[in-house]
Amino acid sequence: MKIKFDVKTKRIKCIKFHPTRPWIIGGFYNGRISIWDYRSKHRIGKYDQHKGAVRGLDFHPNQPLFASGGDDCIVRVWNYKQKKCIFELSGHIDYIRSVHFHNEYPWLISSSDDQTMRIWNWQNRTCISVISGHDHFVTSAAFHEKKDLIISSSLDNTIRVWDITGLKNKYFSVAPTLKDPVNFYTPGPNSISELQSDLFGSTDVMLKFILEDHEKGVNWASFHPDLPVIISGSNDKTLKLWKISDTQAWLMDTFNGHRASISCVIFDPIDDLVISTSEDSTLRVWNTQKNINTKTFRKDGTKFWAVAANRNEKLFAAAHDYGFFVFKLQNERPAFCLNENNIIYFKNESILAYNLNSNSQAVVAQTSQNTQVSDILSLQYNPYESLLIIELQNSFEMLSLFKRKFSSPRPGLGSSAVWVSRNKFAVIHQKTDIFIKNLENKITKKIQINDELFQQNLKQNINQNFSLPNAHNITRLFPAQNGLVLLRSASMVFMLDIQQQRTVAEIVAKNIKYISWSDDMQFLALFNAHSIILCDKKLSHLCSLSESIRIKSGKWSKSGVFIYTTLNHLKYCLKSGDTGIIRTLEKPVYLTTIKENSVFALNRKHDIEPLGMDSTEFRFKLAINEQRFDEVVSILKSSKIFGQSIVSYLREKGYPDIALNFVENERLRFELALECGDIKSAFESAKKIDKRECWHKLTKESLKLGDLEIAENSYKRINVSQELSFLYLVTGNINGIKEISKNAESKNDFMTQFNNTFYLGDVETRINLLIKQNQLAFAYLTAKSHGLEEKASDLQKLLESQNKKVPEFKQKTPILMQPQLPILQAESWPLLMLLANGIFQIFKISITTTIIIIYYLMIKFWGMTQQLISFDEDNSSQTIDNQNAWLDGVDIDLGELPQNSNLLDNLDSQNKQPQTIYVVPIHGKFKSEKSFESSEIVSDHVSTGSFKIAFHLLNKQIGVINFKPLKNLFLNTYLGTHSTLFGFSNLNPIPLEITSFQTEKSLSIPLKMEIIKKEFKKALDLTTSGKFSESMKIFQNILFSIPLLIVDDLSEVKEAQKLITICKEYITAFKIEEERRKSSKDIKRSLEMSCYFTHCNLSLNHLILSLRSAMFLNFKAKNYGIALTFAKRVLELGANQELSEKARKIASFCEKNQNNAIKINYDERNPFVICSHSFTPIYRGNQKISCPYCGASYLPKFADKLCNICEKCQIGLEICELINQNF
């Protein structure tokens, strides 16, 4: 049982869920009614009008209403939107025990201690029926959800079922809103009820059944919403299950268990369960099928008063003396894990894999039958071994997945099983140890936790500044990287290194329930229902956030954004701590994986649901955070989603310049532009806004940044000549000041003009101005103090003439100087970058830093190379001559004992120390060296380095005498089959043979048939293009290689033999050609050669080419007879048109004249082979010998010589066959 929301208040007597909203309503013993939102966990309303206990409450199924009844005998109907009682229904004369709305008709039923029930029409607020019959308090009354029935329970020990068809027909003879017209129009009981009503008065409601079996008063009875069964709870401490049919009702079962009166009992609308509350401080869950009490929840010192069910969410609520709580009977979190492209999850007693690529699912294993969905805490998959661990409460099961035949799960004990490496997992054993187990479920290591030593170890590592609880009780393990495991205590999460058996990192995190690693295992999210902590793989804190709504699941996206679900939202959290909502969710789902623009989630029915999401927002924020401005720009270009929130986000992050790009509101643009110091844009915006305060702001900013032009312009805009002239003064713009003066003159602005004369040093104008304003005394003094005596005396006269007093000028000499005139006029300064983190600024920094980095690297690298050079010197001076040792080791035979002297040494030392003698093991050999000892395959010995044997074999098998050309082949084969492995430093590396992975018996010889074939093709191509010497080299190489080739089947044997023959033919042909060129002066010989050339077994196109040259050469030499034979052969073989044409001409010419000018040793009609040494024909019947390997023919006199073609074998040697089969 999982408690979701626990509220401590005063005694609550009744409780109900809202049919659709996440609300719960409770009626207090003291008369209050409160409504809570159990998701956000807030009270959202309270209603205090009842006097005395509230015992009955009900929400209307679709109107914003609820009804209540209590000890003040009044039924009140409230509107929760208006937050007030909208009317009262009076009639009952004793406590009201329950109220219930009909789900279709505007009816409300109430039951009362006055032994009656009343049905009210809440629309016209009248009582339409009073039902009497019970002989004691009626403790509960309710409508059936679908049928026209009422159930009531009473302290008279009975439960009664009533038929209200009559009442319905009375008020709804034509029922416009009824869903099931057939039922409601059946006239059957209609007439009877009418009859009854006529006979007995109020018989709108007819008693249908009386259920009597309880020994004491019945406190509650409910219908099952779908099935024809009734459950009742009584003061006799029993629950009774009744069955009803149309005509009968009978007792089915009695549930014993409660120790005191049962206060309330309801059906679980989905499962076959009954939940009852009692005054014995327990809440019990019963399985009606098996007639057992499956769960008991005890809350000592309190009495339970009511229980309610919420069908939509499988939630229940129970009310007791000190409040109430909302709970779930079982875990609804689906267990799942992810493996590359498969979501592995549990459904219906089997493990399914949902393939994300094909979007299909398949059952991959079967769990044991006892395993319930709700028992599974987690699934942990090990892809290396295809093993799944199903974590259960205090045990686990191991299951092989993806096997053709389902294997049964292997159970094991220990809680919180997690994989720690590919062949080990960890479990907590009895809260005291962590056991590391291998795949056989055998313990390989025990790590004591929760003992003193370990606790000390934990504390040592923790920053001392934290005040810590005394002990860290490790209650759960979570997976981490290989060899590590996360331990959870109530307030911390530790990372334990299994090898070192100590914690290597920790983070303060309270009550973490779930974790999620990013795909690359670099980042970790720790979360529980209300908070998320993101950290890196060393558990360094990145950010935390809290959520008021329950967090359900979370997953890292590939881009490093943590996506999570709450009860009703899909949200994201960046590593910087920025969060936001991606979309709303209709019901809670559990994220399994994230793919670009969609997420795959498991819902509570254990089905995979793909959900679309718009990732633009978080991608944008991520790009901003990671300062990938190119992406920012591309997102800006491609989407138009941005609103105020993004603008404020950007401002907050200090990127007003980016925000400026997509803000249209001028006012905002202006602000942003000022913020990022973009005076030009600000000016543009200001022009559009054209408000005084904007211009003021702009001038202020532009002056700050030194943009004089804009400052000037904006001063002009708002017409503040004082400031403007001051600006002109400090920037030395005399003309500007003059202009202002002129303007001022036209406007008769005396003060401005006067000021400007000061700026300009224009005394005369100033005096004139003063005169104009009739300030003659001032004017006189001005003139005097500037030493303008003439003017002064004029003014003196003027003053005197006006009979004014001439002010006394005490100074003897003029004291005021003229202001200096500026030499240069100031210009706008280069604009400052206002923001340190503007985009361009960043670019600048990054450029400079790159330069620094490069520079730094250069220094480093240079230093390093120097270092390296010195290393090299060290290495080269270190010429350790331990190869002899190696060879010795290798050469010792199996049976040989360790050297005697060593043995004696040992015996000597034995006298001194009483230790057992250590006999050094006899040196072994490479595996293949041993197994190939008697092999007859040449390459086996070549690859193991036993060249001597290889030589002998080659000599014996194919008569090789010239090994020189084979040298590289031999050595490379050896190199290609030997590698070494680092062990300890400064120690000989471990030699390893490269065995072939498939067969494992043999070594992996680099030489392969495919490679040879490729070479062969290359040689043919070269031949076609006339590069004879190059292609001959390749053909010869092929001949060299084939003896070392290992063939795998008969077809390859044949192929190899064919290759040898073809190579031989081509090489022979090339040799003949060579001979022809050598003897170009000897026409006879050269003609002979060209003829022989055509008798090599070449491929067709090459043969035609050879015929062509033989034909032309003989024709030129006027050997028409022979030329004719070649022409005929060309025509026979079907050459291309041009050549055929020529051949035809030659043929027709030669037919007339078949004389041969030069007699040569060539008889086309007599079959012959060519001696590859003398290049003379050996006609059939004559004796010949051949090369044992390539089969080239020779005259007998060349016996024992080196074959001219393959260049390695002894001609005429008796041999056995080449053995290179490996099958």
Partner: protein, 291 residues
Amino acid sequence: MQLFSVKNLFYLGNYHQAIAEGETLENLSQEQELERNYYLYRCYLAIGNYQTVLDEIKENSPSSLLIIKLFASLLSDFDSKKADVLDTLDKWKKLNENQSDEMFKIIAAHIFCNCGDIDEALRIIHNAKSLEALALRVQLLLLIHRQDIALQELKNLQKIDDDATLTQLATAWINLEEGSEKIKNAKYIFHELSEKYGATHSLLNGKAVCEMKMGNFEEAEKLLIEALEKKPNDPTTFSNYVCCIQHLPKSDELIQRQINKMQHLDKSHFIISSYNRLSEEFDKLANEFKI
């Protein structure tokens, strides 16, 4: 505690970082200090910085450090010092005979092995109990191709601590010897270790050998090139590279050039010395068969 990291880095072949971490360790007890220095100096030897070791270790240092100095002198000038070193070692061995200073014995085994006397190396550490000594025994046994005994040693190692880096490495060595399906296991081990502690040239080599044994020579080539970037001209890496390119479609010229380059790296290296020996042997044999 932090000594673990230094040792671990040393075993994995990340010598520079081991030195960096070792040098910054503080608040060490006398014992820990000695151990730290022991591994630091071994790291110096591994990167070829013999002079530092020769300079820094004083004559009055404990035997476990003195022997490193001895080893350093051997490595710095093998041919001329070999006899002296073996002589000294023989004396010291007798002095230390009754002690069970495993740190001393391990280096002594190194010296013997370097001088070609694997038997003596095995003998001196035959009853050492530490993880490192056991792992060293595994390596020595593999050097004389006795993987059967090495396997027993490995079992002892696994009994002591199956998760230890050395156990993992030794498992991988033996797995590679065993071949076939076990190669995958070795591959996982190298993979895991490099995931956990970062790739080093020796782990990359290990991975490459696994790939070669599985027939993925292209993959192995990439790994070896990466390893060569980490430690250029390393004879083991280079000879593995030469081994690898034999299986790839490379031109003969390129292969021959790499072999020539390899020949000059370290004549004492197993592959290189074998190559030179076989090359000579070939010429000799070829002459014998000539008519």
